[in-house]
């Protein structure tokens, strides 16, 4: 049976759990990720339990193909990755009213294991990547 948040329909298997929470919104641990045709290649991530939170996401490789942050292996262990193909990478976008000032948080990428439906925002301790990297040139 499907569920709805606002006008968003989703199935229980679409729910991604963030057991460690999202810093700043620790009460929101279950989200769905969806894409509106007019917003491709951006996605939305909306909480479906706890406080209402929504984020705009993008795969950082879309605009920074060289993105290769150093991730401690202990961080990925929690995601129980058996095959790299089951891992999705996103970054949270801070959309500015002047779109050229919009940024992506490259110091806190989101990893989602699509097999286990477990997600985690991993904090990258790597000075090359900051919390606000411009998206548009």
């Amino acid at each position: 049976m499907g569920h709805e948040v606002d006008q968003l329909s989703y199935m229980p298997e679409d729910v991604i759990r963030f057991p460690a929470g999202i810093p700043g919104f620790e009460g929101a641990r279950e989200f769905v990720v969806f894409t509106r045709p007019e917003h491709v290649p951006f996605h939305w991530m909306v909480s479906v339990s706890g406080p209402r939170v929504q984020f705009v996401l993008i795969n950082p490789l879309q605009f920074r193909p060289e993105y290769d942050p150093i991730i401690p292996s202990s961080e990925l262990r929690d995601l129980d990755v058996r095959d790299p193909k089951e891992l999705l990478l996103y970054t949270i976008v801070t959309v500015h009213s002047d779109m050229r000032l919009s940024t992506a948080n490259m110091a806190g990428p989101l990893f989602v294991n699509i097999r286990t439906k477990i997600g985690k925002q991993i904090l990258v301790d790597d000075p090359r990547w900051t919390t606000s990297e411009r998206i548009l040139p």
């Binding site: 460690a20 810093p23 939170v53 984020f55 904090l123 301790d125 998206i135 040139p137």
Partner: protein, 86 residues
């Protein structure tokens, strides 16, 4: 705040499954080992705060320019014009 004295090699257990071990101490810093279950996030405070602040900014941003930004991406144009054309 609970304050305890520990020597290198000694540890503190917190609740069920969290162990904090003092590894090394010198005049200015100490190295700490932390074991915790996956549901417990462990981060350096300054890194955590930066991410927390940016997440809050991102969640409250008004995405009215998202559609236009998405359009630029879909054009496959890595150098969008500075001025409107036509």
């Amino acid at each position: 705040m609970l304050v305890l004295t520990r020597r290198p090699g000694e540890a503190i257990h917190i609740g069920d499954g969290i162990v904090v071990t003092i590894l090394e101490v010198d005049a200015k810093s100490c190295r700490i080992g932390i074991q915790a279950p996956p549901s417990v996030a462990v981060y350096r405070e300054e890194v955590y705060r930066r991410i927390q602040e940016e997440n809050r900014r991102a969640a409250t941003a008004a995405p009215e320019s998202l559609e236009m930004m998405a359009g630029l991406f879909r054009q496959g144009d890595s150098n969008p014009p500075d001025q409107p054309q036509g």
